[in-house]
Subunit: 340 residues, 2 copies
DNA sequence: ATTGGCAGTCGAAGGGTTAGAGTGCCAAGA
DNA sequence: TCTTGGCACTCTAACCCTTCGACTGCCAAT
């Protein structure tokens, strides 16, 4: 059992260690904080914490360092999400305020987040399942090449190129375009596949082949969930914190470039009662990221839980600050995208 | 003056040093290569090279290492661009063969390049100046928000969102869309601004305000040269070669994320008679990249010199292999995009 | 429960030595 | 004039040893 004061000691150990990267000793604790007790007393508290495996010693005669379990307790029980400074709020406004399209919003968001947290920032593309189709465009690029564009009410534009042997004529394209827009405009993406399936019947036998091909492509395009992509910024911060990684940051950088791993990890994260998810060190071992922590939350564009955004960095990170920054940014992005 | 054999010695010093990261000594040269002379002779050749500042000694009694000037001579006079292995050619085919739209081609290209060279790969978005407008789409997203989409014959889609106070009605939008497509379809992007300037006169006084706003946005959109963006992959390779950087790789990673610096650097590069550009170490000092080399070449999509692609890495890199890989990939991409 | 005191432990830092690789130079040979 | 073997010299990397200092853990006293 850990006493009340012991938890307080854990808190300052986490804070001091995060701030200084030096193992924290009992003496420096009584110097820097006013516990009103002596170093020996702090030592016995530290013995308790060590008993519970919340802190550990790199070597016998050095200060103590939080374990992953210690960080976990800190995040769950001790971390206060202190509100951002007004300068920070101002930065968010200034940074995101003038964005035009979705891509731009995401890129600016991720840059902002990496600046606020000094970590690698990640933003997942929003899911489109609940969006509705605004417009479908078919453009012939050349003899045999055709481009299909789907525009949704969330401002997302999906484009594909496909080849049609023998080509298609403009009149047919116009007809298909008109029918597609009439039938699909305003519908949710999820409905599109069923509707498109009936399309070939609306055309003459000789056109049917092309219609089927185009429909198939549209279905695929509509199903292509952009949630399988994420935007990243701040890789330089990884190098800056390189010393916090026991091994090399190479696997971490590779995971970031792969994206797949991170998307899976994002998918597994369970939000707490404040909507924040934190995964710490060894909790990510199955992803080969046993020395990194991920802090994330969800954001929504127009209706429904849509996607996640957060940061990734060494276990030794400023959780309080990062959680606050992420929450603030997520709220702002949600508001900004919700205006659509 | 450097003798013929001295240059040959420079070549093997570069090759061996690149391969082993160890300073090269006269003894190891006679062991690994058959010059038919003794170590003492090689030493006098090395004295010549050192006199010319083509090689240097990290400390008095160690082997020699190429200087930036030495790499320069190597690249200009000694490097042979040995053709790729058939396995490598095969990889290019397999990797790029199935790409659909432009974005996809670029992303795949940059990944491929980083794999072939083990360096950070960079691909600049192609210039659109010579492309022609295929289609213009105006979509009302909500009361006051409108999306403009410009599609070009190179398969590029540019989208913007703008706000129109008071909104616009569908009929007007349809009219504007029709007129815009009639007037701009098939025209080069460069011509668009002039044509759009005449647009407000075609509409009634009360519509003019909205038309002006939309036209202005389209002009901006058409002028927005995508050449100011680049795609990047293989940052992990930087970490892998970290020891080749005297200082830290931090400024390099930052430059990569900034993009602006690299685009300027790309812009300054002068192709040699084979169309390849190589900038070595201190030649990039003005960009804060005095320890990195950049190898690049141009590629074209449909007509005209369009954009650049290449790799960036430590001065100690395998120039022969990288130049060959870049040239091969650029040729393939040019061919692939030219089919449009 | 808290405290001061004290012995004990361990890593980091400094100094000194050694082994080895490599050069530079020179005088002799082709 | 170029090449060669020999040899003295230089300098680093590695190793060991010692010292210094920070911290803990324990204990007896409060």
């Amino acid at each position: 059992m850990v006493s009340e004061r012991s938890l307080e000691v854990l808190r300052v150990i986490v804070q001091d260690y995060v701030a200084s990267r030096e193992p924290v000793g009992s003496k420096s604790i009584v110097e820097r904080h006013s516990f009103g007790v002596s170093a020996a007393t702090i030592r016995s508290d530290m013995a308790q914490l060590e008993e519970e495996e919340l802190i550990a010693a790199p070597h016998t005669s050095s200060g103590r360092v939080p374990t992953d379990k210690g960080y976990r307790v800190f995040v769950d029980q001790l971390a206060d999400m202190r509100p951002l400074t007004s300068a920070q709020r101002h930065a968010i406004e200034a940074f995101l305020g003038q964005s035009t399209d979705l891509d731009e919003v995401l890129v600016r968001t991720v840059r902002l987040l990496s600046q606020l947290t000094h970590q690698v920032a990640l933003v997942q593309y929003p899911s489109l399942n609940r969006s509705r189709i605004r417009h479908i465009e078919l453009v012939s690029l050349s003899e045999a090449r055709l481009m299909t564009v789907v525009i949704t009410d969330t401002g997302r534009v999906e484009q594909r190129v496909l080849e049609i042997a023998g080509g298609v004529d403009e009149a047919f394209l116009a007809e298909l375009r008109a029918k597609a827009n009439a039938a699909l405009g305003g519908r949710e993406l999820a409905e599109a596949a069923a509707i498109l399936a009936t399309f070939p019947d609306l055309f003459t036998a000789e056109q049917r082949d092309a219609v089927e091909k185009i429909s198939a492509r549209l279905v695929e395009q509509v199903a292509a969930n952009r949630q399988d992509r994420l935007v990243m910024a701040g890789a330089a911060n990884l190098v800056r914190t390189e010393e916090d990684f026991q091994g090399s940051i190479l696997p971490v950088l590779e995971a970031i470039e792969e994206q797949v791993t991170l998307l899976k990890l994002f998918g597994e994260m369970q939000p707490d009662q404040h909507g924040m998810s934190v995964r710490i060190g060894s909790e990510n071992a199955s992803f080969g990221l046993g020395e990194t922590s991920v802090v994330a939350t969800g954001y929504t564009s127009s209706g429904g839980e849509l996607a996640r955004l957060g940061v990734l960095g060494p276990t030794r990170m400023d959780y309080s600050n990062n959680m606050a920054a992420i929450r603030a940014v997520a709220r702002y992005v949600t508001r900004h995208l919700g205006e659509a």
